[in-house]
């Protein structure tokens, strides 16, 4: 026989084996269905978990890019001589190429009082005019903080909706006075709390005051926290080394005097956490796949025993052991794939529903589909192997004697 004929012979054999396998699966519809159920549930769980998690994480990263890209946060611990940045240092930072501006952030926790109402532990933040320039839509009514406020250490503040509600119910607060740690401030504006993840991470303040004023209230003179604004999201790689160089100089080249966090690095961490989570949950779900595989193995073993005579007869009329093995392997592979594909469809439907409920965009994860399909193929072959091998090794005479 020529090589071509031999190859075609295998092809015909393969096609025929598939047909026989399908016929056998259809012959025992209920049993096949119950067997397939295990794999289906496993794949459904894997797909639903992974797709949902990746949808959530992609929606998180898109909110990062929309709100946090192009900013860096700087935290300084400084050295013995100097624990933060002074005016001069901040000017030098702003002079670095691609840095658009800098806003210090000086956090305070204040007791806020007006007339006979008072509340403790209100988060107050000292900032500057740059902050308002960057967040253009921040102020709802009244005015922004300006350079004069910071230069003069003015006792002016902007308050958010929470404070308006607690202290100025039914009254216009602008122009009114309020006491922060017993110091009198004039309210110049109302702002809307920034809901970006970046500011949620740092805890969003309820009252904004000039940072110079805040420093004085803290009995400090140096800024230890600041947000740096870049002129483009992609500039951070270029800016970071220059910034580090400058900060090294400011803090006399001592180790660990400051920390720069880019939004990209936070996003990176979030992504790692998400993928670890999906790996963990996916791993748990894949236990269901193993259980499904055992179900398939069980069914195949039963099937081999039931079809002993058939196998013996086929061997007697010339079937090679390998051909018998292939036929059973195809059968378990198909069973598993049927379960796997049904699981993929169900899993996608389920994750679409979950994404809808959580309000995130549903994104089909092709990786998860490939994983589900690949997993079920592997399960079919791995768990079908030993029954198929058992079938191929049946002795034809023993089989035929049972007739």
């Amino acid at each position: 026989m020529s090589l071509m004929n031999r190859i075609m012979g295998h092809v015909y054999m393969f096609v025929e084996s598939c047909a026989m396998a399908i016929e056998n699966i259809m012959q025992n519809r209920l049993r096949s269905f119950l067997t397939v159920l295990g794999i289906m549930i496993g794949v459904t769980a894997v797909i639903a978990l992974i797709t949902t998690i990746s949808a959530v994480s992609s929606s998180i990263s898109s909110s990062f890019t929309s709100m946090g890209a192009g900013t860096m946060t700087l935290t300084t611990t400084g050295n013995d001589l100097k624990d933060g940045l002074d005016e001069e240092d901040m000017k030098r930072i702003i002079d670095i190429d691609h840095i658009r501006g800098l806003s210090p952030s000086v956090s305070l926790s204040c007791t806020v009082a007006r007339e006979n109402v008072s509340e403790t532990s209100i988060s107050v933040q000292g900032t500057n005019d740059t902050y308002f320039e960057v967040h253009e839509d921040l102020v709802k009514s009244g005015r922004k903080l300006n350079r004069i406020d910071t230069e003069n250490m003015s006792r002016v503040c902007l308050i958010n909706g929470d404070i308006v509600e607690s202290f100025f119910y039914g009254v216009s607060p602008i122009g009114k006075t309020i006491y922060l740690n017993r110091i009198q401030f004039t309210i110049v504006g109302i702002y809307e709390s920034d809901t970006s993840i970046a500011s949620l991470l740092s805890g969003s303040p309820k009252i904004l005051i000039p940072y110079t004023t805040a420093l004085k209230m803290n009995s400090a003179s140096l800024v230890t926290n600041a947000t740096i604004y870049l002129d483009s999201a992609s500039a951070s790689k270029e800016v970071q080394p220059k910034l580090e160089e400058l900060l090294d100089e400011i803090f006399s080249y001592e180790d660990e005097t400051y920390k720069i966090t880019t939004m990209e690095s936070i996003e990176e961490t979030m992504k790692t956490m998400m993928s670890m989570m999906s790996a963990l949950l996916g791993g748990i779900a894949s236990i269901a796949l193993v259980v499904g595989g055992i179900g398939i193995m069980n069914m195949m073993l039963t099937s081999v025993t039931e079809r002993t005579v058939e196998i013996g007869l086929k061997k007697a009329i010339g079937a090679e052991p390998g051909q018998i093995q292939m036929q059973f392997l195809i059968e378990s592979f198909l069973l598993s794939m049927i379960g796997g594909l049904a699981g993929v469809v169900l899993g996608l439907i389920l994750s679409a529903i979950m994404c809808h409920l959580m309000g995130t965009d549903f994104v089909i994860s092709y990786g998860a589909i490939a994983l589900g399909v690949g997993f079920s193929a592997a399960v079919g072959i791995i768990f079908g192997w030993s029954p198929a091998r058992k079938a191929s090794r049946l002795s034809p005479i023993d089989a035929l004697r049972r007739m």
Partner: protein, 242 residues
């Protein structure tokens, strides 16, 4: 030591030769010898019948002849192949190419129609589908089942089922047709029809070994050997054939 070249050429020419075939089975702790040194030589085109009482070892011998089982000791050459030297895969090739089996109770696959049953050996031999169909059809016509091709086995009579089994055995054009009690389950008339078919096939040149415990059936063959308690003897006198 024999001359190597001579041995090789005589091996190649050899159609069927069994020498001192012994088959033992382990029963409990003891070996029982079922075939006690059987020697048999067959020419191409012969029609041989193996006659013996129940339990004499006929089916055991047929399984060895059909390469389904290997003897405990002895030598067996079939179409130039030293059967005892072959591995599982090679044995299955011999079964596929050289041997056509007809079992005692026809042994069709119940879930396939007559046509598919006949096609089955060709599937394992890797024959192209279109050729498979024509050859199976041809064989079913030959055994007189042209109008029963797509009947399921349970829709066929015992004799018809046996014809399907014969068609299946012949479809690979084997060198050797092996039949174990081919008429065992059939009435006399149907048995005769099957025997007529065997005669016709033998006339066409098919080599046939038929196993039976029925002297009248055995007489159909040109040559009869007796097997009693695992020992083979050539039947006395030539049996006349029709």
């Amino acid at each position: 030591m024999q001359n190597g070249k001579d041995a090789a050429s005589s091996l190649k020419d050899c159609f069927f030769k069994m020498t001192d075939i012994v088959k033992k089975y382990l029963l409990g702790e003891e070996y029982v010898t079922i075939l006690k040194g059987i020697s048999l030589e067959i020419e191409e085109g012969e029609f041989l019948s193996v006659l013996g009482p129940s339990g004499s070892g006929k089916s055991t011998l047929m399984n060895i002849i059909g390469c389904l089982d290997l003897p405990t000791s002895g030598e067996y050459i079939l179409k130039g192949n030293v059967v005892l030297d072959l591995d599982e895969k090679e044995l299955s090739h011999i079964r596929s190419k050289e041997i056509g089996f007809i079992f005692q109770n026809s042994q069709l696959l119940q879930r396939m129609d007559a046509m598919k049953n006949v096609e089955l050996p060709l599937i394992y031999a890797g024959v192209r589908p279109s050729e498979r169909h024509t050859r199976a059809e041809e064989m079913l016509c030959k055994v007189g089942l042209e109008d029963r091709m797509h009947h399921m086995p349970n829709q066929l009579s015992g004799g018809q089922q046996q014809r399907v089994a014969i068609a299946r055995a012949l479809v690979t054009r084997p060198s050797l047709l092996l039949a174990d009690e081919p008429t065992g389950a059939l009435d006399q008339t149907t048995g005769h029809q099957i025997m007529d078919l065997f005669h016709a096939l033998n006339q066409e040149g098919h080599t046939i070994i038929m196993i039976t415990h029925d002297v009248n059936i055995a007489k159909n063959a040109r040559r009869v050997v007796n097997i009693i308690d695992g020992v083979m003897t050539e039947a006395e006198g030539e049996v006349t054939f029709a």
